[in-house]
Amino acid sequence: MPELSKMKKPDVKVVLLGDMNVGKTSLLHRYTERKFKDTISTVGGAFFLKQWGPYNISIWDTAGREQFHGLGSMYCRGAAAIILTYDVTNWQSLSELEERFLSLTDTANHDCIYALVGNKVDLTDPKAHQSQDSDVASEDRTDSEDMRTEPQLPTPPTSPASLSGVMLQKQVTPEDAAALYGRILRYKGLDETSSQPAEKMCFETSAKTGYNVDSLFEALFDLVLPSILRQRNENQESPTVDLEECRGSSNKRAKSSCC
């Protein structure tokens, strides 16, 4: 098999979990494509490969629909980081994380890190209306809907607020999220003192405006690096896995954060 055809072996796996409609696909779009566009409810899971400096990070964007519930643990197998996503305007989406999604993470790595992400803060917090990223125009919704499905409104507005500019009631506070984070650590049997603190692992984001999206992914990628290094060491002993050497990619986003 020629060299070229080898799949860039992912060094590490990151999984997005959370109820349908909370914005997992939108977050990933925002991060990888720098825009907010119409989405279709995900089927199964979608696999993406992201270059992070010399590393290949695989990201699984999973479907939140109950229909695909049973697959979650498969996507999570061997994960180094799991992004548990909820919608700040929807309390139910937070409790679903605990009731439905947490158990799926049992197949993740034992040192897997967990991030709690409250998306759609643009609906509740004026501050989320500016993205910190300079390259983001905040309302660049593109209309690249599937032509075969019936034409649609640009997604039935999740809430009237997105149209009128009226702020919505926030149903989940950062404190709620931090409390859940504590329960997750306990569920995992992890020691709070030796784990990442809640302040560091709970995020509020807006895929729509881009608010906090890069910080989320970048912080996570930085945190999973030890996991990558450990895996590389393990892999050196196993001849079956062929590692592709870093090909000096000049990813501008690699920054100094990659050791």
């Binding site: 409810s41 089927v43 109950e66 519930h69 599937d146 019936e150 039935p156």
Partner: protein, 614 residues
């Protein structure tokens, strides 16, 4: 309406028979209950002139002569003057009252309908569906009630979701074809237009109707009114209902409902659906289907606009056989254990299919399974970057098992060429993704993508018959010695069938011809149909099924000559028009791994965790 306009070729069409004999048993509680039910739930139903409000149909055929498929003994005698009839079939107690007619199980006896007092029950269902008001008010009324109705035919690019439609609006009633899915317990599962919540009482009435008829050991099959045909289909714990003003035959409509059912199965499997409802009769299946509405919406739009569904055959993109062969070979070489199908699609049309030997030995892929797959891909993955890995069931192949589908576009960002790899192994993602990389690489080496990009469908003018405007040709078994996918070929629809309305009108004509050809009571081999704006000829032999459309001035003799020419042309082009020699590969070390039939070694529905949700 131009039904008087047509003349038959050698064969005769179905005759409109005399009004059926009147056979009037005494007051029966079915009909009574129906009207009670109606009065209870829809007090304002009153007498509503159903016909008046329906936008003019463009279908050129009158349904007065329709044949209710399947029940031969009865069919020929019924209809005609009868405006409404409610037909049920089966079992000992044959109840005949008013316009309700049931068929006895012992066959022969007349389940005759009567004409008197025909306004209530059957009509009522239709009326109530058209009227669905009261309780619903205020629930589903978020959207505007737009007068932008699809005047009987095409789906105008509405800019609102059909889910948000006001179910009390006239425009809602005027949809050409409604489809509802409900559970046996009467829980709404899906509605094509308007949200299921808003329609829950309507669905409740439908279910009450179904179960009432059932309680007498009968099965409700269809209800007719002047303007609408209501068709019921019960599959396991699901009840599917179609309310159509499209003038299609009952059999065609039931076929469409079956596609809807199978698409649901393709997402959940039959086994898991029955298990779920065994555990919990009033389970709300929308929990599992939430987010899948678009897939069903997309399916119904396709069913209306793509003749593949009517013909139960697959339409592949015409391709030089050398190119098709080279693509097949690329797929054939990129394999991994448990890979069973490799399918290449461009613009939602098949380029090629390669299949695993052992799995397929005893069978072939059913066109319906391919249709469902293509629809699922179109509706859920279109224009997505990334590689999708999702379970999917091919209901006709095996309704109880999942395959795992790998879906990826080969030409981002355009996303027109799509690769679909099906494996029986849930864990095979990385191995299958590796196959894609091999395929991608080979295609780059052979410059396949740019060759594919140049491919297009063909024009009827290439046939070189001046009066021929369009045709659909479905050979039975191409070539004879390969049991393979049923296909058909058809040119682009060109002027005068370029607008959506005209396309739909032509399709309706074809649907009419199809229903005549396939009428169970009186199947025909050849129909010559002179319509107002065109002349159609449909012909079925042991070798093929052919539908042709000519300009209106063509003579019968001309049409026959034209068809001879056309058949010769197709013969000459068949290597290009069809996937002729589907290649195979072998990936299953152990032949018993075939996922077909009884005991399969792959995960079934339980594995997807449905039961834990109950």
């Amino acid at each position: 309406m131009e039904r008087d306009n047509h003349q038959e070729g050698e064969a005769q069409g179905v005759k409109i028979s005399d009004p059926p004999s009147v056979n009037n048993p005494p007051g029966d509680n079915l009909a009574t209950s129906l009207s009670l039910l109606g009065n209870h739930m829809f007090p304002d139903v009153a007498e509503r002139n159903d016909g008046a409000s329906i936008s003019k149909e463009e279908t050129p055929v009158s349904l007065c002569s329709d044949v209710t498929a399947e029940q031969q003994s009865l069919d020929a005698e019924l209809h005609s003057n009868q405006v409404t009839k409610l037909e049920t079939e089966e079992t000992e107690n044959s109840e005949c009252f008013n316009d309700v007619c049931t068929q006895q199980s012992d066959g022969g006896s007349e389940g005759a309908a009567t004409d008197n007092d025909q306004s209530d029950s059957g009509e009522f269902v239709v009326t109530m569906l058209a009227k669905a008001k009261l309780e619903e008010q205020g629930i589903g009324v978020k959207g505007r009630s737009s007068p932008l109705l699809e005047a009987g035919t095409q789906e105008s690019p509405a800019f609102m979701s059909h889910r948000d439609e006001d179910v009390t609006a006239e425009s809602w009633r005027q949809h050409r074809k409604h489809v509802f899915v409900l559970s046996e317990a009467g829980k709404p599962i899906y509605s094509r237009y308007g949200s299921e919540e808003a329609l829950s009482s309507t669905m409740g009435v439908m279910m009450a109707l179904v179960s009432f008829v059932q309680s007498g050991d009968n099965i409700i099959r269809s209800v007719y009114s002047e303007e609408h045909t209501v068709v019921f289909l019960q599959k396991g714990p699901l009840v599917l209902v179609c309310v159509s003003s499209s003038r299609q035959s009952e059999r065609q409509l039931r076929g469409e409902l079956l596609y809807v059912y199978y698409q649901i199965i393709s997402m959940l499997t039959q086994a898991s659906i029955s298990r779920i409802f065994e555990h919990k009769k009033n389970y709300d299946l929308r929990r599992l289907l939430a987010g899948s509405e678009k897939i069903l919406d997309g399916l119904l739009n396709l069913v209306d606009s793509d003749p593949s569904f009517l013909l139960a055959a697959v339409h592949c993109l015409p391709l030089a056989s050398s190119l098709r062969d080279s693509l097949s070979q690329i797929l054939q070489k990129a394999i991994t254990p448990n890979l069973v199908f490799s399918i290449l699609i461009a613009n939602n049309q098949l380029l090629t299919i390669v299949q695993e030997k052992t799995v397929i030995e005893d069978t072939r892929l059913e066109p319906a399974d391919v249709h469902l797959l293509l629809n699922l891909i179109g509706a859920s993955s279109a224009f997505q970057a990334g590689e999708i890995w999702t379970p999917i069931c091919l209901p006709l192949f095996n309704p109880d098992c999942y395959f795992y589908a790998y879906i990826s576009y080969l030409d981002p960002p355009e996303c027109t060429v799509c690769l679909l790899l099906l494996s029986t192994d849930k864990e095979a993602f990385y191995a299958v993704a590796e196959c894609k990389r091999k395929i991608e690489e080979a295609m780059v080496a052979q410059n396949s993508l740019s060759l594919i990009a140049k491919v297009q469908s063909y024009s009827v003018s290439q046939v070189g018959v001046s009066d021929l405007r369009h045709f659909m040709y479905k050979p039975f078994d191409v070539p004879d010695n390969y049991r393979q996918l049923t296909q058909f070929t058809s040119p682009e629809m060109e002027a005068p069938y370029s607008s959506e309305e005209e396309k739909m009108r032509l399709l309706d004509l074809y649907r009419y011809m199809h229903s005549r050809i396939h009428s169970t009571s009186r199947p025909l081999k050849l129909i010559y149909h002179v319509a107002e704006r065109e002349t159609l000829l449909a012909w079925v032999t042991s070798k093929f099924e052919l539908y042709t459309c000519f300009s209106p001035l063509v003579t019968k003799a001309c049409a026959i000559t034209a068809i001879t020419k056309l058949l010769r042309w197709i013969k000459k082009e068949e290597d290009r028009l069809f996937i002729r020699y589907p290649p195979k590969y072998s990936t299953t070390p152990n032949p018993s791994k075939s996922s077909r039939g009884g005991k399969s070694d792959q995960q079934d529905a339980t594995d997807n965790g449905f039961l834990s949700l109950l």
